[in-house]
């Protein structure tokens, strides 16, 4: 019986970056802040795979770094298995007991591997530092993890530039799972890979989850991949969560206008005939610098906006069972357009 307590509970998370130089003689004026992450709350249960969807500038990379404690939190709390880890400064987190349990697989495997380390040394790094393994115990664990991720043993002595894209991705995954974390954050792990390799890596991630019972936070802009792997989805826009719900439901019946636009923009192979009209978002995203706390982030690009959208920030609320959206005018009923989207999903 799984414990009811979520593995990860994020509440009111905010990350603000001060911008512009703080000139001495301007001390009276308030400095400007870039709101990378603005009041984000969500949970991840044990064994759950949660997808974080969004485009560039939405804050998903920042969330990854905040939860992995590579960045300091401006405001809000991060509870990992009940313990408040958001208050621990990032540079001290290496010594915290939770360091082992939160690991990340990065998007660019080439960039995330030290070019001077062999694959063996790269995978051994967390085992050396966090579990203090050495000698034969270290060797056998590295070989075991390599086997688990489908990495042939003879590749362990190679350097990154001697490995293919798929092999490097496996090394990155092996390194992340070597210390048996409970939460694995995957930051676009397959976006740099060819389609044929992507399938293998996705299958590997699925198998690992079944065998080792991780929770995954799967961050991606590729909706098709997220749909295949995730139980629940969070959709982010400009630092806010605008929609959340079970994956199949969000894809079949998106509630938030942004999610709809996102889904309609995805090209579907072989579906050239009978496609629904593209729901486009005209214009550019609003500025993330000092955004007004009363205006919906999608205002100005959204076809359903009214004056209410400029006077009260919509909160994330339940629209239908388990589906949440931050919108004053969410799609409560499936429209003709969303029905068509669902038919080809």
């Amino acid at each position: 019986m799984r414990s009811a307590r979520p593995l990860l509970a994020v509440e009111g998370l905010r990350k603000l970056y001060p911008i512009g130089k703080q000139r001495v003689w301007r001390r009276g004026l308030a400095p400007s802040f870039l709101h990378a992450v603005d009041d984000v709350s969500f949970t991840i249960g044990p064994g759950e795979t949660v997808g974080l969807l969004g485009e560039s500038g939405c804050g998903k990379s920042t969330i990854v770094r905040l939860i992995a404690r590579l960045l300091d939190v401006t405001d809000g709390s991060i509870l990992f298995d009940g313990a408040e880890i958001g208050k621990v400064p990032a540079r001290r987190f290496g010594l915290a007991p939770q360091r082992v349990h939160i690991q990340v697989v990065f998007q660019d495997a080439t960039d995330s591997l030290n070019p001077r380390f062999t694959a063996f040394r790269a995978i051994a790094d967390p085992l050396l530092r966090l579990q203090h393994l050495s000698g034969p115990a270290l060797r056998s664990r590295v070989e075991e993890v390599a086997r688990l991720t489908g990495l042939p043993q003879e590749l362990l002595s190679r350097f990154p530039h001697q490995l293919s894209g798929g092999q490097k991705a496996r090394v990155g995954i092996a390194r992340a799972i070597a210390v048996e974390p409970r939460l694995l954050i995957l930051d676009e792990p397959t976006s740099a890979l060819d389609v044929s390799v992507q399938v293998l890596i996705l299958r590997l991630l699925q198998d690992l989850k079944r065998q080792l019972d991780f929770s995954y936070l799967f961050v991606s802009h590729d909706l098709n991949v997220v749909r295949l792997l995730c139980d629940r989805i969070l959709v982010m826009y400009l630092g806010h969560i605008v929609e959340s719900g079970p994956a199949d439901r969000v894809f079949a019946e998106p509630r938030h206008p942004y999610t709809q636009a996102l889904l309609s923009a995805v090209p579907k192979p072989g579906a050239a005939v009978g496609r629904p009209a593209r729901i486009s978002l005209p214009g550019e995203p609003r500025s993330p610098v000092d955004p007004s706390p009363h205006i919906c982030p999608l205002y100005g690009r959204c076809g359903r906006a009214t004056e209410k959208c400029t006077t009260a920030m919509p909160a994330l609320r339940e629209i239908t069972r388990e589906q949440f959206a931050a919108c004053h005018y969410p799609f409560a009923e499936p429209t003709a357009e969303t029905k068509k989207l669902a038919a080809i999903a």
């Binding site: 389609v195 802009h221 995805v266 072989g270």
Partner: protein
């Protein structure tokens, strides 16, 4: 939709072979490919990395690397044999009749020159405009690609623009002289999904209004299927299948095409349905490459696949497949 002036293809590539000399051997990047493109048509060259699709595009534009050698074939564009033409003749049409937009737009633009000036440069070189008219024509082009506030944006530098806007600038530069053929080399890789949709829609719309042919180079089957009438699938330097888009998805004839379609996440209902493509690309430096370069990964392979020359078999209206045992 037979147009009388479409009887002669705009672009005809015949038996093209390209190889690269490297320190570790000669890479036979492209081997004996042929395809045609007519005026106003849209075609996609689809393949994974290493399939030779970008190399083909560069060969058409005449911007191949110094280490590249064209070992065989002809590329005929609008009656001109590009591989035999003089450098001057090519320079005349490159940018005017034949244009290309690249991946990663921000790095393809000159970082220290305002974008308006970059468009004006092309107009001055190839279009019939005077130096006085060029700036305003550049602003017109920016408006045509729907960049808001074009007068102000013309003075911006590439680093001040988002990725999507940089790509629009590139499109403006490419289309400034109303070329007959636009080659788009992975134009939306690295762009957001919504931006990708908008950019591709823009290209499609402008192409239709100018009756311009488009050659889209991409690894994304979904993108190809949505924007192109014809698809040519490439594998390891060969074109394994060409077909009109709908027919390709309805009934692929080449085993690799079928596997590629099955491996694309967009079409699959769940993860189990996704098919992996067994094996890996053969090393193109090998001298003992089998005549069918897919045979080592193919479940249907037979001894004939190794040494019988590949048939360029036509199997129906506008279709071709290079396989001894098509599906």
């Amino acid at each position: 939709m037979m147009d009388t002036d479409n009887a002669v293809p705009l672009l005809a590539v015949e038996d093209l072979g390209i190889e690269f000399r490297t320190r570790s051997g000669t890479v036979r990047a492209v081997d004996g490919i042929r395809f045609e493109l007519r005026r106003g048509e849209t075609m996609a060259l689809v393949g994974e990395s290493g399939s030779g699709k970008s190399v083909t595009a560069y060969a058409i534009m005449g911007i191949l690397d110094g280490a590249a050698r064209i070992t065989s074939g002809t590329i005929v564009f609008g009656g001109l044999e590009l591989l035999q033409a003089s450098e001057r003749a090519i320079a005349e049409i490159r940018g005017r009749e034949l244009a290309i937009i690249f991946q990663n737009p921000r790095t393809a633009l000159n970082p220290i020159r305002p974008v308006g000036k970059q468009i004006a440069d092309i107009l001055l070189r190839h279009g019939n405009v005077t130096a006085a008219q060029a700036p305003s024509r550049a602003i017109e082009m920016l408006a045509k690609v729907r960049i808001p506030d074009p007068e102000r944006r013309a003075r911006s530098y590439p680093f001040e623009l988002s990725g999507g806007m940089c790509q629009r600038v590139m499109i403006a530069m490419a289309l400034a002289c109303e070329p007959q053929l636009l080659i788009a080399d992975e134009p939306t890789t690295g762009l957001d999904i919504t931006t990708q949709a908008v950019i591709m829609d823009l290209i499609a719309e402008l192409a239709a209004s100018q009756k311009m042919a488009t050659l889209l180079i991409t690894h994304d089957l979904g993108l190809a299927s949505e924007y192109c009438d014809h698809i040519a699938v490439m594998h390891a330097g060969h074109i394994v299948e060409t077909a009109p888009t709908v027919a390709l998805f309805a009934a692929p004839h080449h085993p690799y095409t079928a596997k590629l379609i099955a491996a694309t996440p967009g079409g699959a209902p769940n993860l189990e349905a996704l098919a992996a493509i067994p094996g890996a690309l053969p090393d193109l430096r090998r001298v003992d490459l089998p005549l069918c370069r897919y045979s080592e990964r193919c479940e249907r392979a037979a001894p004939a696949c190794l040494d019988r020359p590949l048939p360029r078999r036509a199997v129906g209206e506008g279709r071709g497949v290079a396989c001894h045992f098509p599906l």
